[in-house]
């Protein structure tokens, strides 16, 4: 996370939540992702040593599952839902509008590291389609106008 120093103690505290067993590899990586917003190569190595798996295995997991990121994400995450209903109700147009507004493509982070634009496959709020999640907040029946206003407040 920007502006927050990551210390060795933090990562140790996370690892101690789990027994040393390969079955906890994914849970551990999830906690690291949640705490630091990404998985740094150093942390990946520490986790591998802790649960006792080769780095290649952790690497394959970190690249296979979509919730992991190997690069730092922006301060705020904008997730545009592209579930079926959101697709039918113009979710794709909304992503494109966000791309134009933020001048990044989906999956990318703005130059000032303020925002990361992502798409997500259904957040389960289909009756309010199209839906955008900004950090932990849901925006239903989203329009570019509404998103712009919301981003200004952040």
């Amino acid at each position: 996370m920007d502006g927050k120093k990551i210390s060795k103690a933090d990562i140790d505290a996370i690892m101690e939540r789990y027994p040393r067993h390969p079955q906890y590899l994914i849970s551990l990586l999830q906690d690291v992702q949640a705490a630091f917003n990404y998985i740094s190569p150093d942390n990946l190595n520490l986790v591998c040593d802790y649960v006792g798996v080769p780095v290649t295995q952790a690497w394959s997991i970190a690249t296979f599952y979509k919730s992991f990121s190997l690069e730092p994400k922006g301060e705020h995450e904008i997730k545009v839902c592209l579930g079926t209903t959101c697709h039918l109700k113009g979710g794709e147009n909304l992503v494109e509008a966000c791309e134009r507004h933020l001048q990044v493509e989906r999956g990318q982070t703005t130059g000032d590291r303020r925002f990361t634009l992502e798409t997500v496959k259904c957040v389960g709020a289909c009756s309010e389609a199209p839906v955008i999640m900004i950090d932990k907040e849901y925006l239903g029946q989203a329009t570019l106008l509404g998103v712009k206003q919301h981003l200004k407040k952040l």
Partner: protein
């Protein structure tokens, strides 16, 4: 919390909770389901709390503000249900709350303007609203009623009673027999008989002694589906109780809740519920004094659609990449760490306590054998009352969409429904290929087998209604793109076949290709279905194959006439404002993201076609339907 030692203590707790509950106490239940949350329901519940604090009224009984899981009628959110009158207020905004408190909670009067109305009728009781009236709530009975973060509220409403009954009155074999006679089939979409799976696991464990594991599949990855989310968020104890009963029947002592990481609230509610159940001794050793031990571990999915497949879940739980493996051996033979493992969908587990409560026969009376019981659907898309519904199996598609769903909004016609998510199909409303009786009524019975006959599947319960403005080619392309991205890449037919199919559809969407390509696409789809390793690839061609089967003309319109009849495929359309209809309200210009619509108020507006990106916003906002696709 004090541990509950035996069944008598559980019953004692329930009765004391019941006695402490005053049925006349005013309760405002604020829905915090997925739909209402997206509309700002949290602010409504906070507004209630602060309005109540500020209120100077003298209450005989202090009103209670409860936050609940999904109450169903998502399109009318935020929903607030007031008991004891069973008043449902819809579209509640935080600024309405002080008035609700003063009028309804203090004076007990009805606030007419917030009532649900349909065809001119205002409904003063939630149960009378057509959306609810035609439903039959069994699994969702407590969802939207109880506070999911309070185990006492769940126990008061009957949670863990079936567990007590199973532990005291039934042998493990009798539990399995009951589930078998009830006819319960997997609610994740496969429709596989649950008891058969259970029995196989027991047999395998007998031959090869050691632990048996249970898994609840909460990786609800199908877009357009939120049934499991609603259960996990609204009544997490139902899932825990179902797994406890399953654990007892199967001789298992460890279960896993595998929940999609996009559902942070479900994860939170389940983890609180597990902690509270553990604190009361409902999870752990010697449960209710029976000597039976069972515990649950909560695992978050890491973002992979394929992890809804059972062998992929096992791989993920073991800390590996979620790649499916060949079956057999099935998980009931060799599952988690090589041990017999029963994987059931969240909704399936949540059915189990009700089967024990109602008895096999009582449960089997619901639905149409061999599809018994009820099914939860998320009814969304182009339908007036979208939301979460529970209906007996075998209900007609017409009842579901027109009566409960209230039909398609506006003047547009009901074209098709998409069921079963990316592995399901697109079936037209004017249905012909099913049973004679149903065909006569031109309507389709919604149960496992009738749906399968259409080439679609019932799937997990996502039901997306499409109208004439939705293009089947575009939707089939959307699903293929989804699956092509989510394919784990292990087997060739799925990895390359889906890419090849997508190329065809990309061409069609641009108005390219030949009618022969359509046949080639069909045979490629068949090859992918035949050759893929797991369910993802086997069923991936379904949306394409069913849509070609029922909507060949629409495909041909793209390929031969270079037109998209629904007006969706961007390369084939342009927008124009009909000068005869436009009254110059200017809404289109206001909403145009490219600012390429110009005109003066009360005069004709025009679209600059060169700058138009065909996003369709103008057409959506026009109150007069003056924007034409040409």
């Amino acid at each position: 919390m004090k541990k509950i030692k035996d069944v008598a203590e559980l019953e004692g707790l329930r009765q004391s909770l019941h006695a402490a509950h005053d049925p006349q106490q005013p309760v405002a239940r604020v829905c915090l389901g997925p739909g209402c949350l997206a509309l700002g329901a949290e602010k409504v519940s906070q507004a209630f709390k602060s309005a109540l604090k500020k209120s100077k009224a003298n209450f005989k009984v202090q009103p209670l503000i409860k936050t609940t899981g999904c109450q169903g009628l998502c399109s009318q959110g935020t929903l607030v249900n007031l008991s004891p009158a069973d008043l449902l207020y819809v579209r509640v905004k935080p600024e309405d709350v002080p008035e609700i408190v003063e009028t309804s909670l203090v004076k007990g009067q009805v606030l007419e303007r917030l009532l649900y109305s349909e065809n001119g009728t205002k409904y003063k009781s939630a149960a009378e609203i057509p959306f609810y009236r035609a439903q039959q709530k069994v699994i969702l009975k407590n969802v939207g009623v109880i506070d999911p973060l309070d185990i006492n509220d769940a126990i008061r409403c009957g949670a863990y009673q079936s567990l007590a009954k199973a532990l005291m009155d039934l042998s493990p074999a009798e539990v399995i027999k009951t589930v078998e006679l009830s006819g319960l089939r997997g609610r994740g979409g496969g429709g596989f008989p649950t008891a058969y799976k259970w029995r196989r696991a027991v047999e395998n464990a007998r031959q090869n002694p050691g632990p048996v594991y249970l898994i609840a599949n909460g990786e609800e990855g199908d877009p357009g589906a939120f049934m499991d989310r609603a259960i996990m968020e609204g009544d997490p104890h139902a899932v825990i109780e179902g797994m406890l009963i399953g654990g007892y029947a199967l001789g298992a002592h460890q279960g896993f809740l595998y929940v999609r990481h996009e559902y942070p609230i479900a994860i939170h509610h389940l983890s609180v519920a597990v902690q509270q159940a553990r604190a009361l001794g409902l999870l752990g050793k010697n449960i209710l004094g029976s000597g039976f031990a069972f515990d649950l571990q909560l695992n978050r999915g890491a973002g992979a659609y394929v992890c809804g497949e059972e062998t992929a879940i096992i791989a993920s739980l073991e800390g590996r990449v979620g790649e499916p493996v060949m079956r057999p051996p099935y998980p009931v033979e060799q599952g988690l760490w090589g041990r017999p493992t029963v994987i059931n969908n969240v909704e399936t587990w949540a059915n189990v306590p009700h089967i024990i409560r109602m008895g096999a026969e009582g449960y089997a009376n619901l639905g149409v054998p061999p599809s018994t019981g009820t099914k939860i659907f998320s009814l969304v898309g182009k339908v007036k009352n979208s939301g979460l519904v529970e209906v007996p199996m075998g209900i007609s598609l017409g009842t579901l969409v027109e009566e409960i769903g209230g039909g398609v909004p506006g003047q547009k016609g009901f074209k098709a429904v998409q069921t079963g998510g990316p592995s399901g199909g697109i079936v037209p409303y004017e249905f012909k290929d099913v049973t004679a009786e149903a065909a006569e009524k031109k309507t389709l019975s919604v149960d496992f087998d009738s749906m399968a006959k259409t080439g679609s599947t019932m799937g997990g319960g996502g039901m997306i209604v499409m109208d004439e403005h939705d293009c089947v080619v575009d939707l089939a392309r959307y699903f293929l793109r989804f699956l092509e991205e989510e394919s784990c890449g292990k087997c060739l037919p799925c990895r390359l076949g889906l890419k090849g199919m997508l190329e065809f559809l990309n061409q069609f969407a641009k108005g390219q290709g030949t009618p022969q390509d359509l046949d080639a696409l069909e045979s490629l789809g068949q090859a992918v279905a035949d050759g893929s390793l797991c369910g993802l690839g086997k069923r991936a061609p379904n949306p394409v194959l069913t849509s070609i089967r029922y909507f060949r003309d629409e495909y041909l319109a793209h390929i031969v006439d270079h037109k998209c009849p629904a007006g969706v495929c961007k390369d084939l359309i342009s927008f124009r404002i009909d000068p005869k209809i436009c009254d110059g309200c200017g809404l289109c210009a206001k909403h145009c993201p490219e600012a390429c619509i110009s005109g003066k108020k009360k005069k004709l507006f025009t679209i600059n076609e060169a700058a138009c990106i065909r996003c369709g916003v103008c057409r959506d906002v026009c109150p007069l339907d003056a924007v034409r696709v040409v």
